[in-house]
């Protein structure tokens, strides 16, 4: 099976002080991995390299078999929109749009055909099917988190990346969140990469990759 992510001899630096260096990293398709490390070790930089928002100074980053460094800016944008879903700690739902509109926007930016039935199924699966017409400020944090996951999966990506999804949550909510992510990715047949410094997630995913040597 094709790897969802394959990184080899990656080097990226912010000047002389911060250097991210990964010799080899692989996330097989439909599996899950946690990339773990302390704050400031370059986890978010790694996510942006995977998203094609940054280009490595050396080495290669392949997502679903595509070397992102070979893509132009707009090609990388399109690739990211079509194949990767993101969930951030801050969620970043668009406050002016309703839940449904947030999801439709994700489909639209992925250049996917509008699929209202799939969106309804997704919201139903996540237990927020009645909140489609609400705006984010009318939701609880838990509901917003579910909507953020739904948005990340709205365009049926092959890779779901979650950046610090549990860092500000209590134990119960952290466990629920990671369960939600794993279950949703499994349902969507997407690979799941969780980037976190949250030690509570240790052992919860299919594999772990320690990050921290670069700084």
């Amino acid at each position: 099976m094709q790897s969802a992510i394959y990184v080899r001899d990656l080097v990226f630096s912010h000047g002389d002080a911060h250097t991210l260096s990964i010799e080899e990293f692989e996330l097989p398709g439909k599996q899950s991995r946690a990339v773990m490390g302390p704050s400031g070790c370059g986890k978010t930089t790694f996510v942006q390299l995977l998203a094609g928002l940054l280009k490595p100074h050396a080495g290669s980053v392949k997502v679903l078999g595509t070397d992102l460094s070979t893509l132009s800016g707009s090609e990388a944008d399109r690739f990211r929109g079509q194949h990767i879903g993101f969930v951030f700690q801050q969620l970043h739902l668009f406050p002016a749009l309703t839940v449904k509109e947030n999801l439709r926007l994700a489909q639209r930016l992925a250049r996917s055909p509008a699929d209202e039935e799939y969106l309804h199924r997704l919201l139903t699966h996540l237990g927020v099917e009645n909140l489609g017409q609400r705006r984010p400020d009318q939701l609880s944090f838990g509901q917003m988190q579910r909507v953020a996951v739904a948005r990340a999966l709205a365009h049926k990506p092959a890779l779901l990346i979650a950046d610090e999804p549990t860092s500000s949550l209590d134990n119960n909510n952290a466990a629920a969140t990671i369960d939600l992510l794993m279950k949703s990715a499994e349902e969507a047949e997407a690979a799941l990469l969780v980037v976190t410094h949250d030690e509570r997630l240790r052992g919860r995913l299919d594999g772990e990759y320690p990050l921290g040597g670069g700084e």
Binding site: S39, G40, C41, K43, T44, T45, V47, Q48, A51, L53, L54, G73, S74, D77, R78, R80, G81, Q82, F86, F88, Q89, Q90, H92, F94, P95, A96, L97, E101, R104, L105, A106, R108, L109, A110, R111, D163, E164, S167, V195, T196, H197
Partner: protein, 498 residues
């Protein structure tokens, strides 16, 4: 559409701020549109009213005043001129059409113009119903006068002295409507035309004992103004009349029965200056046999002998002005200069005076236009500030858009859409407001003054305004949009991440 939807949704998050920005832009645009339309209407109306008139001869004074009073009927005349002296020029071979004017009275604000049928030819006007004036005190009314006053053929009305409503009426004689003109879309629509004799008769009534002999009126004993000691030499001066004293009037009236044309015109007048100036016309001369196209055939019985009267006054008859159309454009080179150099008359060319008046009006319009642009620039700055301010709070949203697959250009367009949505709403509302205001003013002018205003017409300058507004709006939205374009996604996301 998705970007417009997103832009609309973002703007609706802060409706009050959005509304203020739209209102600012609308006010600025409406002011500019209003000024453009007003300027276009003024220019168009002035050109239309003066079309076909190459030169005006009148008493010396301000040429602008001469044009305003005799072409636009919007000012008091500069004075009277000698008919004999005017005839010297009207009979010049370089003149194609000459229309003498005798002004001085009005009816409900519509000016009564003593003239000849050549006046209709000059304005391409024709009688729609009824017939042209043939006898003194017969009147042909313009289309707007008919619509406003509800006068119909056969109706009679009193003329009021002066040009303002509320002036005292000439109740000694009534005008009879004999014809109604076709609407021509110019000042003619708002005029009441009659013969020169009508005006002369009416203003000479104190000298001719009309109040005794007119049997078709019922109000001859009313308060005619005092015509004490009228004299030809005083016709260009500002006579002072006392209109308020009926007793005094009767005494004066008695004097007038003597037909003494060597009156002294220095009696008291308690009206305003304008009225006094208006009074300067036709109160000194009372010739009842002006050599016009038709015979002077009074249907009332004057107790004086026209023929005899003409003998001693033929050279002293006065009119207000003459409107001329050249036979050849070459006349424009020589005739005005000759008139000014070789006679006591003043010549004024409408095109030159229109340009002069428009320059003066234009100065005022320019000032107002500058103010309108201050409003527009303020609106653009406000939109710029609103968008720029929202960039800070929405930097992560923009980064998220990029994560979802939006290109830099799409993020630029998203931000641009917001600015353009605000300014477009303001500009559209402004154009609607501007035209709406002109429609309102036009309806009022139509009803109250009989002036037609093409409120819904699109002035060419509006296209320039629209293009300029689009450019300014684009610029004010493009700067924040360019900032959005350059959003550092990594930095924006890491601010909230690990």
């Amino acid at each position: 559409m998705i970007w417009l939807r997103l832009a609309w949704a973002n703007l609706s998050l802060s409706p009050l701020a959005s509304l203020i920005n739209v209102a600012l832009m609308a006010l600025g645009t409406a002011s500019a549109v209003l000024l453009i339309l007003a300027g276009a209407q003024i220019t168009d109306t002035m050109s239309r009213d003066a079309r076909g008139i190459d030169l005006v001869l009148g008493a010396k004074g301000s040429p602008s005043q001469l044009i305003l009073s005799t072409v636009y009927h919007a000012d008091i005349p500069t004075g009277n001129i000698s008919l004999a002296e005017a005839r010297r020029w009207t009979e010049d071979e370089r003149i194609a059409i000459a229309a003498p004017l005798s002004l001085g009275d009005s009816f409900r604000g519509f000016r009564i113009v003593g003239t000849q049928p050549s006046f209709l030819e000059l304005y391409d006007a024709s009688v729609e119903s009824g017939r042209g004036w043939e006898q003194p005190m017969e009147a042909v009314i313009g289309a707007a006068v008919a619509a406003q006053s509800k006068l119909e053929i056969g109706d009679r009305f009193f003329g009021s002295h002066g040009f303002a409503e509320g002036s005292h009426t000439h109740e000694s004689e009534t005008y009879r409507v004999v014809g109604i003109l076709n609407p021509v879309g110019s000042v003619v629509d708002r005029l009441i035309l009659t013969s020169l004799e009508s005006v002369w008769d009416l203003h000479g009534e104190g000298d001719h004992n009309h109040s005794e002999d007119h049997d078709d009126q019922g109000a001859h004993e009313s308060t005619e103004h005092s015509h004490e000691d009228h004299g030809p030499d005083d016709s260009l001066a500002s006579p002072e009349h006392d209109h308020g004293d009926a007793d005094e009037h009767e005494a004066e009236h008695a004097d007038s029965l003597e037909h003494d044309h060597d009156h002294d015109h220095d009696h008291e007048h308690d009206q305003d200056d304008a009225h006094e100036a208006e009074h300067a016309h036709h109160e000194s001369e009372n010739d009842h046999e002006f050599e016009e196209d038709h015979d002077h055939d009074h249907d009332h019985d004057h107790d004086h002998d026209h023929e005899a009267h003409d003998e001693h006054s033929a050279d002293t008859r006065e009119i207000t002005a003459v409107l001329l159309r050249y036979r050849t454009p070459l006349a424009a080179i020589s005739l005005p200069r000759e008139v000014n150099a070789e006679s006591n008359l003043q010549s004024a060319a409408p095109p030159m005076e229109i340009a002069r008046i428009l320059r003066l009006v234009g100065l005022g319009l320019e000032g107002l236009r500058a103010f309108a642009w201050v409003l527009i620039v303020t609106a653009c700055l406000s939109i710029f500030a609103a968008l720029y301010g929202s960039l800070r709070s929405r930097r992560r949203d923009l980064a998220m858009l990029r994560c979802l697959g939006a290109t830099k250009l799409e993020v630029f367009l998203a931000m641009l859409s917001e600015g353009l949505l605000l300014s477009s709403a303001g500009v559209l509302a402004g154009f609607a407001l501007g035209h709406g205001a002109i429609v309102g003013v036009g309806m009022w002018l139509e009803q109250s003054r009989g002036v037609s205003v093409a409120a819904l017409s699109w002035a060419p300058a509006e296209t320039s305004l629209l293009i300029t507004l689009a450019a300014v709006s684009l610029l004010s939205a493009a700067l924040p949009a360019a900032q959005a374009y350059r959003t550092d996604v990594a930095r924006a996301l890491s601010a909230g991440g690990a």
